[in-house]
Symmetry: C2
Subunit: 308 residues, 2 copies
């Protein structure tokens, strides 16, 4: 089978660190081009300044991975789908829920595969956690996602602007895991969002969810963590405690601990290839829906200004 | 066929003004009870202080109309569905999108009808507007929804609290019409929400949407309108201008003007009866999704304090 010719649009940090190696490591794909008006390309790979240029004068592509900030993603995505190209959307899949719904409808109509990628769902501990929890009664869940924004998002202005998610940019990774591993749906009961007085997006958030059996789910998001960083999910069950740490990479069960390798982006690209070969899409907006609910339902408080 | 025995839970202003007459005017229903811990009931109708009391010691019911504020709706709704009762949800159907999704899943599992009611969709001009627009090319849309909150929501504290929608409480009526009459999906591009310095919900909002063909949709919401009130939707098309005024009751077309009677709540209850008889649900969250997107994506500004 010929490899799927794929272009990366938006060749910033996440594309270089994760997408390029995952594509190069998967024989189902060949990296056909990169696109960015700002950044330089990669040695030996055709580079175009815009999606227009790619589609009109670049090498032929079957698929595009869209890694631009969410605020500018819809137009590029609609243009790509309009040309019959399969589309991989970095998380979050859009700046709004309705635009992702419109893209899904367009992809279905055109008959191409649309993949709303949630990389944390492919962390090593997540699939076994989901399997283990499927049989349990959930008593409570605690999510602690505390990291240093200066380390992980240095100078990224878009992440603080309306449509950027602030601390929910990492927090949505936790939600993508928890929506995937818990056996029942859950929804927000109460939330407090803390915003720096000079920013439009939260630097911290405290959220109380509940599942449909009444189990409480608490989420503590904070971008002001210096020193050790925390990306932990603890689930208390009738059969003991499950803990996912290091963002899902390490799984602690009553029976012992499993340390997996980092397989997130390789997992995403395997999934994307399977979707394309199978003529299917995978557009789960549940994590973004929970974030929108937090903005809709949450109370806001203001804290000290934040400077990069 | 025996009438559907229905109870109204939450017997406040909207229930007395609209639900009671619509139920009494529809022979498919019999009003079996009312429920409220605060308010008095109706002459000749059994009245209970809580849903628990209704379900344990009240008259038998086949259906419930839930007219409580959205912040406390989920638990009551889940309890009713758990007892196999058909459920009518006043707008908005919940305080969050995820809780409405959970209710829909529960209703499907139990096998009862769930109806997320959008009363403005049953205004007299809306169905003919939808039919007329189905064949048109849309050039632009203007929505102006300006009313006096002191007249329409006197002393309603819940509407200003987190989970109340502020000016989107009337604004969602406009969105329920526009999502119903326009031939293409649309989504938010930019929004400004204006909040009184002493309130948690917006008193005004300025929103720019776009449909999937690029047509601009502008929405002007304001709760500070004194004097004449405006609930108007103007759609410019390749065949001239359509205008819905008075909240959808009056339809202006290039061919002339149609004034309809107020049939919103009678229309809702006819629809609810048809859903129950047909074993179906109707849970369209698109209007609430657009509001959540506005809270997620919009920039906020603060204005003068608001006092009832």
């Amino acid at each position: 089978m010929d490899p799927i010719r794929i272009a990366i649009v938006g060749i910033g940090k996440i594309a270089r660190d994760q997408h390029v190696p995952a594509i190069r490591g998967n024989s189902a794909f060949s990296l056909a081009a990169t696109v960015s008006p700002h950044d330089a390309g990669l040695d030996g790979v055709p580079h175009l300044a815009s999606l227009d240029a790619l589609l009109s004068e670049g090498p032929a592509v079957d698929a595009i991975a869209l890694c631009t900030p969410p605020q500018v993603r819809y137009d590029l995505a609609a243009q790509a789908l309009g040309r019959g190209v399969h589309l991989f959307l970095e998380k979050p899949p859009g700046a709004t829920l309705a635009e992702v719904g419109a893209l899904q409808a367009q992809a279905d109509k055109v008959g191409v595969s649309l993949f709303a990628a949630w990389h944390s769902r492919f962390a090593a501990g997540v699939a076994p956690a989901r399997a283990w929890l499927a049989e349990r009664r959930i008593e409570s869940v605690s999510i602690v996602w505390r990291e240093d924004v200066r380390v992980w998002h240095p100078g990224q202005a878009w992440i603080w602007q309306p449509g950027g998610l602030g601390v929910f940019d990492p927090g949505i990774n936790a939600l993508s895991i928890v929506t995937h591993i818990l056996p029942r749906p859950f929804f927000l009961k109460d939330a407090t969002l803390t915003l720096p007085e000079n920013r439009a997006a939260p630097i911290a958030a405290d959220l109380h969810f509940r599942d449909t059996s009444g189990a409480p789910i608490h989420m503590d998001l904070d971008w002001r963590q210096t020193g050790p960083q925390s990306w932990d999910i603890v689930v208390e069950t009738d059969a003991g405690t499950l803990k996912l740490s290091q963002g899902g990479a390490v799984l602690h069960l009553p029976s012992g601990t499993e340390h997996g390798e980092d397989v997130e982006y390789p997992g995403l690209y395997s999934r994307f290839a399977a979707l394309i070969r199978g003529g299917r899409s995978d557009v789960d907006t549940d994590p973004l829906r929970l974030v929108a609910d937090a903005f809709l339902r949450g109370r806001r408080e203001t804290t000290d200004a934040f400077h990069d």
